[in-house]
Symmetry: C2
Subunit: 332 residues, 2 copies
């Protein structure tokens, strides 16, 4: 196969029987060209599949059609879908993503910001790795739009896109109440994690509003499966009256399930289970869902932050990504 | 905070006491400038932190400093680390990644290729989702370098970066033999999957070379945990004489472990276990490793494919990413 040469403006002008400058004026919509001539030139451009040099266009517009994605560690488990969501959205809009990963590139942020300015990027999406700690705002370092995904910045006027953890807790409670479950236990990670507190808060508020309340105190531990087993063992040993467990994440839910089953409890007949994260859907990609879970929408969060930057909107403040309930066998 | 204005070439020229054209010649290394003058100009550029307009430079060089990443579905579990590896490597080299995801963008490939040409991209990395089927080669559609990651193209002259599945099987066998295990069973997915066949092949060749051979036939099934449980139950029921199981992936290993433990076998004392994928490391990010596993290096594969494109090298053919053994409790 021979390489196809690019069609030039001269080719279009020759085919249309006009000068190059007339062809340029017609296609750029600048200057006066008669309707008939414009039609002839546009027809020639279409037939030849003429594409103007995008680089030259970018220079003329002072835009690079490139958005920077600043992140501490793009390969972090939870950050990865956010970065991919942002980069994929940008690509669909014909915008390139300049991924600046501090793990790969140890030069300091000021240096990096200088490079991005020189490159005339059209926007910046800062991707964090959750709600532990605030990200230093870099918005005023740029004249182009900046948004923050999966992290909160230290400037309230920034546009931030984060999971709706309270909503996840609320959805879990509503689902279990809808199934007629009223003796609900909550097993989760450490209480100094904002996501843990928000999920517990959403659950408790909804149960309180329904007049049900929580069964026992919240069981705080770690994000690990082993903690789920340990917590469920305690529930069994102390003979808590329970018909459902909302777990802080899917790993905990898995541990809770194995300990309950080992103790002779049936899931979901005796005890219904819900986790958070949707690892089954994300990782196993399987057709049937075992664990009922809540997807916090990491990729969608990245898409929303990228869309915000491209739209050049001014919508400061926190934007919560709506979570999605995914019903599996454990709450059927 | 006030926005800092970009330093221009005129600023540098003024500080150095030369004309703009002399400053330009000195900094671009074009034309004749005395050593002393060049030093003065370079010193001024350094002091002022002058950065030439990257867009204008790109246009002059005919390069966009953008590499396209073509993928069917960037959010696919296994493709995601490859795309992130490639995009992160490019970012560290100050190259943007234009992620073209067919899932997000349903226009046909020819249309997309036309856009990429117009954009004067510097290279293309095609990211697949494994070894099921060949990817149609698009190399001759471009004048810039093209590489393929996590897929094989239908043109042997392409540069392809894929996992060393046979190496994974070999490493598993060597590790188990090194622990003195000689009665080794293999539980894996369906035999029509190339990765399955290559992993089994690497295992069998190494065991045969050691004079040990495999215990029983290869147990082919699915990638699921439930298949691991079922296969291990058969091994237990039929009283196979076994002291180790190499599993096609971590999910299978997990199922094998739970069935063995339920049957009273001790792991690793009675039976050692190895999986493939390193989900524990990738997902749980935990400090202690339970399951011994093999990481096939998905992110490194994306980095290698991106590096190949940037280097503009001519190294056609298949490049195997070396796998890494990660030792956990199940083979201690």
């Amino acid at each position: 196969m021979t390489e196809r040469q690019s069609v030039t403006l001269s080719d279009v002008a020759a085919v249309a029987g006009v000068s190059v400058s007339t062809a340029s004026r017609a296609l750029n919509g600048t200057g006066r060209v008669s309707a008939e001539t414009r039609e002839r030139i546009e027809g020639a451009a279409r037939r030849l599949e003429f594409r103007p040099n995008a680089l030259a266009q970018s220079l003329a517009l002072g835009r690079s059609r490139t958005v920077a994605i600043l992140t501490d560690r793009a390969t972090n488990t939870f950050s990865m879908p956010v970065v991919i969501g942002a980069a994929g959205y940008l690509g669909a809009q014909e915008q390139a993503a300049l991924v600046c990963d501090a793990r790969l590139n140890r030069r300091d942020m000021a240096e990096r910001i200088g490079e991005l300015r020189a490159r005339r990027i059209d926007g910046v999406v800062v991707v964090g790795d959750g709600l532990q700690g605030l990200t230093r705002s870099v918005t005023t370092e740029f004249t182009v739009p900046v948004s923050y995904a999966f992290t909160l910045s230290d400037d309230d006027d920034d546009a931030m896109f984060i999971p709706d953890n309270a909503g996840a807790g609320r959805i879990a409670a509503e689902h279990l109440l809808g199934l007629g479950r009223t003796r609900i236990v909550h097993v989760t990670a450490a209480g100094d994690d904002i996501a843990v507190r928000q999920r517990a808060d959403g659950l408790l508020r909804t149960l309180d509003a329904a007049g049900t309340g929580l069964t026992g105190e919240v069981l705080y531990g770690t994000w690990r499966e082993s903690w789920g087993r340990e917590a469920a063992q305690r529930v069994v040993d102390e003979a808590w009256d329970v018909d459902a467990v909302f777990c802080g994440n899917d790993h905990i839910a898995r541990g809770v399930e194995s300990a309950l089953v080992a103790a002779g409890r049936r899931v979901p007949d005796d005890v219904a289970l819900i986790g958070v994260d949707n690892w089954e859907g994300l990782i196993l990609d399987q057709s049937t869902q075992h664990l009922t879970t809540i997807d916090v929408g990491l990729a969608a969060m990245g898409e929303a932050a990228a869309a915000h930057v491209l739209a050049g909107e001014e919508r400061p403040g926190v934007h919560y990504q709506p979570p999605t309930l995914i019903v599996g066998d454990t709450s059927a």
